[in-house]
């Protein structure tokens, strides 16, 4: 019986082998086609000073998982620290803190690899922070030792940097962190030695002009961030263990401390981030090895969410939100990892909005710098 069945089947196949081939190919070819689409991901880059390189990861948007890019880390200058990704997602800039230069990299969006475009661009002494305006047309570099800010215009097609007229612009002693308004109109700068925020208006040519006066915050001002709505400046005061929040006068750039500020944080807050909806605010507390979470009302007033603080990142030195508002990423210095936290954005699971859940961590291998740059797609 078995023999009969197999013989019959074979004869049918033999007579119809031409059709069989077509059927076979029709069956096989889709195997290569069905998975042509790519899952949504972001690319993440951070400086690794001891390796003189940039570590690269791909983040799965659905899980927050970090997958190292083959070939990572990618060679940069000496001791790369701050990194920023251009809004086009085509270019990455890394500040080499010992070289006093800026490296420009082209990003291969499919593979995630970086290719440096030389020569490097000179900047001031010990560049420690960088920001790009939303249009990606100007790059601002805070030079800590030379106490100034270098401003570069960005060639949108090549990514090349050209220093604007008048750059560098002097700022108060030893700036370490900056934030720019979403409109690209004002730049705010902090220096840990001075308990104040310094404001600068940005001209159409990229030149900086200081907004008169300075705006008091707590001692040890370290991390600074502006929420996507562009209404408030948030400063982590690492010595006072507080968070200062100041409202922005969009017409003048002048800052006004909001009612109730400063607000309590954990120990040694060094970095602050706000989610894309401007609803949740997170502070990385390096000293207490945790993250403080707040919900924020329309007046900018933060309220601690319940069950806090959130552990999982030891000695967090930097924190940032994922562009889709699903995750918060913290750089853990002592464990040499990037830690992913899931933001609870639904009450259907019985949880509290804005709370964080440790998801996973990815090894960097060496001590990471205090900066993590993400592509938006």
């Amino acid at each position: 019986m078995t023999e009969f069945i197999s013989m019959t089947a074979f004869n049918i196949f033999r007579r119809c082998w031409g059709r069989g081939i077509i059927a076979t190919l029709a069956f096989l070819l889709p195997l290569g086609v069905v998975s042509c689409g790519s899952r949504p991901t972001h690319l993440a880059y951070l400086g690794v000073p001891t390796l003189n390189g940039i570590a690269a990861f791909r983040i799965d948007n659905n899980t927050g998982k970090f997958t190292p890019i083959v070939g990572s880390p990618f060679l940069a200058g000496n001791s790369p620290g701050p990194v920023v990704v251009a809004p086009s997602n085509k270019f990455l800039y890394a500040a080499n803190q010992t070289d006093n230069t800026i490296s420009l990299f082209k990003i291969d969006s499919l593979v995630g690899t970086l290719t440096e475009v030389t020569p490097r661009t000179n900047t001031g002494l010990s560049p420690s922070a960088m920001v790009l305006n939303a249009a990606g047309s100007f790059l601002f570099v805070a030079n800590t030792i030379s106490s100034n800010i270098s401003v570069f215009s960005v060639n949108s097609s090549s990514g090349a940097l050209t220093q604007v007229a008048g750059s560098p612009f002097s700022v108060p002693a030893n700036p370490v962190s900056m934030a720019i308004t979403p409109s690209g109109t004002y730049l705010y700068v902090v220096a840990p030695n001075l308990p104040a925020v310094f404001a600068y208006s940005i001209s159409s040519s990229g030149a900086l002009m200081q907004v008169p006066g300075s705006f008091p915050v707590g001692a040890g001002a370290n991390g600074i961030a502006i929420e996507p709505a562009g209404k408030f400046v948030h400063v982590a005061n690492s010595t006072d263990n507080t968070l200062s929040i100041l409202s922005i006068n969009s017409a003048t750039g002048v800052l006004t401390t909001i009612s109730g500020s400063p607000f309590a944080t954990g120990t040694t807050p060094v970095s602050v981030t706000i989610d894309p909806s401007s609803t949740y605010l997170y502070v990385a507390n390096e000293g207490s090895n945790n993250i403080t979470a707040y919900s924020v009302d329309t007046n900018g007033v933060p309220t601690l969410v319940t069950t806090q603080p959130f552990s999982g990142a030891t000695q967090p030195i930097f924190i940032t939100s994922d562009p889709d508002g699903k995750y918060v990423y913290a750089i853990s210095q002592s464990t040499k990892t990037v830690v992913t936290f899931d933001i609870n954005t639904s009450t259907s699971n019985g949880g509290t909005l804005g709370t964080l859940t440790f998801t996973q961590s990815a090894s960097v291998g060496q001590f990471p710098a205090t900066s993590l740059a993400l592509t938006t797609k």
Binding site: T2, S6, W17, S35, C36, L51, T67, V111
Partner: protein, 196 residues
């Protein structure tokens, strides 16, 4: 057919196909009483390379070549050596494989299944790096099968050959899928003399 949510073809699927063909034809295809001593194959090959573990945004579609020499020890059993190269803008993939091959012959048709082990030599084409070369060599293994049809006594067309390839490179595992087609040239003979 097992295609998971990511669209990746799992080895189990190919094993089912190969197993099905084996059962279907194993009882009768041994009727053929002659075979060539050596079969030399060369042709086009497509590979679906599992590049996501390397950090790629998606798997990679690669084109290239596939060549093999099969030595038939008996009418059914032989040993084959296989080499293939597949190329894309970011990837260059080579596989060098050896393994047993089982054939079922019937008139002008020949079906075969095989398993293999060997080496994979994978290279990601980037120019800036720190940790040495981005070429990695590792073990490879897998299995598959195909179908040949005689055009002339000494020449057949390989209508298709489908293989699952597992490779371990860069300290990671890749599960790849390869499809090849081309011409097969026959040399020598075993069993009853082939009518030329």
């Amino acid at each position: 057919m097992n295609i998971d949510r990511e669209g990746i073809v799992r080895p189990k699927s190919l094993l089912v196909i190969v197993g099905f063909l084996s059962i279907l034809f194993s009882t009768q295809l041994s009727r053929a009483q002659e075979a060539s001593r050596f079969d030399v194959f060369g042709g086009y090959s497509y590979m679906r390379f599992d590049s996501r573990p390397l950090g790629f945004a998606s798997d990679s579609n690669l084109n290239g070549w596939n060549a093999a020499v099969a030595g038939n020890i008996t009418l059914k059993w032989g040993v084959f050596l296989d080499a293939s190269g597949h190329y894309g803008q970011e990837l260059t993939i080579y596989n060098f494989l050896i393994g047993p091959q089982y054939s079922f012959r019937r008139d002008k048709s020949r079906f075969f299944v095989h398993g293999f082990i060997g080496k994979a030599q994978n290279k990601v084409n980037v120019t800036t790096r720190i940790n040495g070369d981005l070429e990695s060599v590792g073990k490879a293994y897998g299995g598959g099968g195909g179908f040949d049809y005689d055009l002339k006594p000494r020449i057949s067309i390989r209508v298709f050959q489908a293989d699952y390839l597992h490779s371990d490179t860069y300290g990671l595992s890749q599960n790849d899928f390869r499809v090849s087609a081309g011409l097969v040239f026959h040399f020598g003979h075993i069993g009853h003399p082939r009518k030329l």
